[in-house]
Symmetry: C2
Subunit: 330 residues, 2 copies
DNA sequence: TTGAAAGCGCTAACAG
DNA sequence: CTGTTAGCGCTTTCAA
């Protein structure tokens, strides 16, 4: 902030640029003119250092090549842009170690607040508690940790899974497989309970071998699924709790010449735009990803605007919708 | 950097933490122990201010809910994480005004370097030139501006479009539609030339009304496409230069009861994982999105490591691959 | 309404 | 090998 010394003090310039009420209109005008002319843009790091905030939020997610998270980022970015916040993105690729390192870095004050969707491996919570203890507000979205007291933006996982399972039952399924990647994630277990309770409520016994947990190692997973699909008594319904698994199912069925929905009906949690053009069109539970991202960012930014950064210990639930297509059909 | 004063000067601590060679091993050990104990993390903004760099790169893209860009971010992030860089993401949503504002902000020194894929509206180049003039290195990926002298990471758009068109011709197509969103984007015009030259080389006259430019206003676009598909002489081949348009084509064909590939064969530029499960499976030109992101970040980070940030004026081309599926078939 | 001075937390340059 | 000093560019008192 040098060249401007032509006329005024740095303090005045600083205030004028931020449109402080204690500066006269004439000087503001003069300053703005010079700012324009010299193409001056204040150094955000000097400002951050002094003000102890960065106008930046950190977003930590497992993947970005997943339509749910991509749409969520979109939502987050839309409110960040509107409110003048910058968005730092970090991908954990489901590694708990990475998650820990990233949150540790946040203790530096790099970000004013954090939006987190945990990895499939995350069971400990100390790294998160530590960060929050240091005064960095953190909200969860989608993949939350219930033990931690903060705001959580989620969808109605239990109800959706219940609904999906009921739908399969209504369409005549007797033996329904439940596919997931993790039994750790709270979101998975909610979906699992929804599945189980729907079965029980309709007088179907829950069979543990129908609940399949994959490793996310494509080849192994593929083989495992094929084995399950072949072994009698044959399943006639599948609820995939993850989009990626629906694709695996389609692949395996094509391979084994199992007809969807003739032999087996399929429904999946998914946000794929192209779900309706799959062969056959996939019945989905589609999550309001954009809205979840938006709500998460809004809550965080709002908290950041207050003196005491307080994130209520509450769950904000934005419901998913079931979209029935041809992969399920009596 | 306070509590440590128990024993040493701030300068020593600073050097020890950064593992400077001019500090003895014993003190490093002592310092690290205390760092551990007090959970100390250096303030990045103070460091940025002093060192005049931020270890941060800015990524500016039109959308994130697009499998190409999502994969590209993935590639960018992978090298950033490896090299200790942070990634700020900005979405333009195809708005030139936003692009300008974002790059203007970068003049503040917020980022050490920029990776840019321009909007469909971008025709001016002054905002980019200005940023570069200020010493901020910028590399393009995918949607590049040829007029600007810097490194550009692209795929072989011309050749791919040529190949795709040739493929349709070989499969018997006589009247091939070319669908795109913009005639401004260099990448689009390259694809268009590939298409045109393939036609010419095979003795087919280029028909201007077969080249359709959409507005990205879903309803209008959909109607326009349907009109084109119905109007005789009927097209028997389609090359969609954008993934999203392939989905529109599938929709319109389903609606009009036009059979793919029986009535019309379809090929599209696309990175959809689910392309093979569409009905029918979509023949694609699939771009090496992850690699493009990775290469772009690598080039930028490498330049950032040098005294004089120099980005060669060169094009790095990573070829796309045609994956033939059932949407094209003689 | 403006300005002088102090200092955010770090690091580079230079002494010792 | 360790310490001293002087800022990086901004914002915040507080005084004028």
């Amino acid at each position: 902030m040098l060249a401007k010394e032509l006329q005024l003090s740095v303090a005045t310039i600083s205030k004028a640029i931020r449109d402080s009420h204690e500066i006269s209109d004439k000087t503001k005008l003069r300053v703005n003119a010079l700012v324009e002319k010299l193409n001056y843009v204040p150094n955000p790091y000097a400002s951050s250092l002094r003000r102890r905030n960065s106008k930046t939020i950190g977003v930590v997610i497992p993947e970005v090549t997943d339509s749910f998270f991509a749409q969520a980022i979109n939502g987050i970015e839309s409110v960040a842009q509107e409110k003048g916040y910058h968005v730092l993105i970090y991908l954990t690729h489901e590694s708990f170690e990475k998650e820990k390192m990233i949150l540790k870095d946040f203790e530096s004050g790099r970000v004013d607040g954090v939006l987190l969707s945990v990895t499939r491996e995350t069971t400990q919570i100390s790294h998160i508690e530590e960060l929050m203890r240091m005064g960095v507000p953190l909200a969860f979205f989608d993949r939350v940790l219930e033990e931690i007291e903060t705001t959580k933006i989620i969808t109605n996982d239990y109800e959706s899974a219940y609904l999906a399972t009921k739908h399969l039952i209504k369409k005549g399924c007797k033996k329904i497989l439940f596919l997931s990647f993790s039994n750790i994630l709270c979101i998975s277990s909610k979906r699992l309970s929804g599945y189980k309770n729907a079965l029980l409520d309709h007088g179907i016994k829950v069979n543990d071998s129908d609940i399949i947990t994959f490793s996310n190692e494509s080849k192994t997973d593929y083989l495992l699924l094929k084995k399950k699909l072949k072994s009698p008594p044959r399943a006639d319904g599948i609820l995939a709790s993850v989009e990626k698994l629906a694709i695996t199912v389609y692949q395996a069925c094509a391979d084994l010449r199992i007809n969807i929905p003739g032999d087996v009906q399929v429904i999946s949690f998914s946000n794929l735009d192209s779900a309706s053009f799959l062969n056959p069109p996939l019945t989905t539970i589609s999550q309001p990803a954009f809205e979840i991202g938006k709500a998460a960012a809004a809550v965080l930014v709002k908290a950041l605007g207050r003196k005491k950064f307080e994130l209520q210990n509450e769950e904000i639930t934005i419901p998913s919708a079931m979209v029935v297509r041809k992969s399920t059909r009596g």
